[in-house]
Symmetry: C2
Subunit: 386 residues, 2 copies
Amino acid sequence: MKNFLLAMATAWLALAPAVAQQALWGGQDIVSPEIHADGTVTFRFLAPKAVKVEVMGDFLSGEGAAALKEGKDGLWEYTTPAPLAPELYSYAFIVDGLKCIDPNNVFINRDVASLTNIFIIRGGRGDLYSVNDVPHGSLTRRWYDSPTLGMTRRITVYTPPGYEKGGQRYPVFYLLHGMGGDEEAWITLGRTVQILDNLIARGLARPMIVVMTNGNAAQEAAPGESSLGLYKPGMRLPKTMDGSMESSFPDVIRFIDASYRTIAGKSGRAIAGLSMGGFHSLHISKEYPDRFDYVGLFSAAILPNEGAESPAYSNTDEKLKAQFNKKPRLYWIAIGKTDFLYKANEDFRKKLDAAGYPYTYYESEEGHIWKNWRIYLTEFVPMLFK
Amino acid sequence: MKNFLLAMATAWLALAPAVAQQALWGGQDIVSPEIHADGTVTFRFLAPKAVKVEVMGDFLSGEGAAALKEGKDGLWEYTTPAPLAPELYSYAFIVDGLKCIDPNNVFINRDVASLTNIFIIRGGRGDLYSVNDVPHGSLTRRWYDSPTLGMTRRITVYTPPGYEKGGQRYPVFYLLHGMGGDEEAWITLGRTVQILDNLIARGLARPMIVVMTNGNAAQEAAPGESSLGLYKPGMRLPKTMDGSMESSFPDVIRFIDASYRTIAGKSGRAIAGLSMGGFHSLHISKEYPDRFDYVGLFSAAILPNEGAESPAYSNTDEKLKAQFNKKPRLYWIAIGKTDFLYKANEDFRKKLDAAGYPYTYYESEEGHIWKNWRIYLTEFVPMLFK
């Protein structure tokens, strides 16, 4: 076998570029988006036959779509006229009227049944949403038994850097998604791992376990992650705001306290969620007033679905009274000025004010969007367990 | 606050469909792909202005692209003329010459810098690649220290159902990716979690830990998962076949044996990989002949890069002799008939034959494709640790 390896080295070298899967289709040899040092961004799209190429995305702030200009060899380009503020942005192209993912950007987020490309402008909050050279926590997808719902369900758990070494106990933050979401939403759209890693590394947050449940009580797991297969995700699901999430939540707490080194008491537990998850956080925390010292309502829905007759939604006034009598350390309400739930939250705050229940209020610009929920997460986490 | 919740229920109900993020763009209200009971598949694409819509994918087996036919209101359709065999397939549309992801299918795989939609035909191997109603293992992304490479690196670890309960020790299977891949490849393209869950549930595989490393020694983590940010993945990376992976591999084993309840000896360790990962498995297993009782080369590259002067590639004949003298329980070589590495593997087998080293050979149809690597995984795993 002598010199066998050496003898074939040249042949191998020539073949090396083909070593990935023999491709179904080649890629394009262009860069898009290109983020320039000054924070402007160039989008590129190769489409020699197209008549019109536009880019749309949340970086345009209401202007609709921006037209790319065709250059040499069908390469279309658009550069933002001004630097973009640090943020995680979503976009896609529209080619002769058709939405098209950027074929030169493999980073995509799914929101319910819609895919968009993402990019990050660094600095400020953009740094909090980025992977940095800091100690990293671990992220686990696993399954737990819910006897109340009669099913085994998928759950996502973040443990902070250092969890695996040593015997320290950690507080637990239960972080809930909105309607159409699942146990993946806070990881992908919410950048929870990056935000926690970065806040902990900066000394701004206490190391904590973050538990991301599936809040659709009829669902075992996110689309594609259960025996239902690779189906098209939908917005409306049964058993989302009918009391099932509230009644089954002790199953989650029991599982987490049995499986992790937790601080298994009120002072070591927080719960927060966005939209429907804010609704769940409101109702779960009042159903179990001895369980959570920290409650966060992010653009929360306040009211149950019409016709929902769960005991979780009865005697609300008395239950809120019992909850606030036990003096939770933080009851935090956040919403954007243009959120369609603004009025519902305003009314809820008036009720809390009238009853003399203390809470902290955070009002942001804009509305019912992930940009705000990421901001709320970065604001809420540093206040926990201190 | 009495009746406050009830009073607003009607208003809330009317708003419910808008509770997800205020969408950047609406979805399409069609189903694609639709998998019929007989195994035929219909692809649909809504494009009123398009002149030509085609679908391409590995279900077409070399026929190029199939044309969709335009129907009412710009809805294009194509149904396969015959049922497809059980398998995981990849596809995308070509709209007037432009590759376009199916906007009605959120399930996508990334292969290096290319995205394609996927779907699964159930039955046979299709069932092995699907999530079924069986006990599920856990999947963790975490980071480990590699003193040899001087960096902290991301790693993906599957633990089998039941791992978290009880004190049993488990064997460990190290599963390595190919060039252009990373610690995500075997999870997404390889369906490793589903394959392991299903083989274990059927009693065909022994419960085991599966460790998926990043085999690009210059890289901390997959694209988008390191401080390098959201960059376009590339095929050619430094330090992939220069001996770095081989010399640093003991760091991985040390970390896994220190972090999990492993059977920390030769009889409890397997190593296999595809293409470059098969190359790594070949060389790592011969560098550390006391470590692995099971070795799998899936469409393996055999030879180092030209000019790679690592000690890992010297004295190969003597090292292979030492390895086979220690009688590994399984040395498994698999390759497809049309793989561009077929000849290299044939020559390698001839050398093993000439030296009288026992191995098992598995030859499949087709070439250097993920379909084959999934098949090899389903064939290899049942032979381990028995």
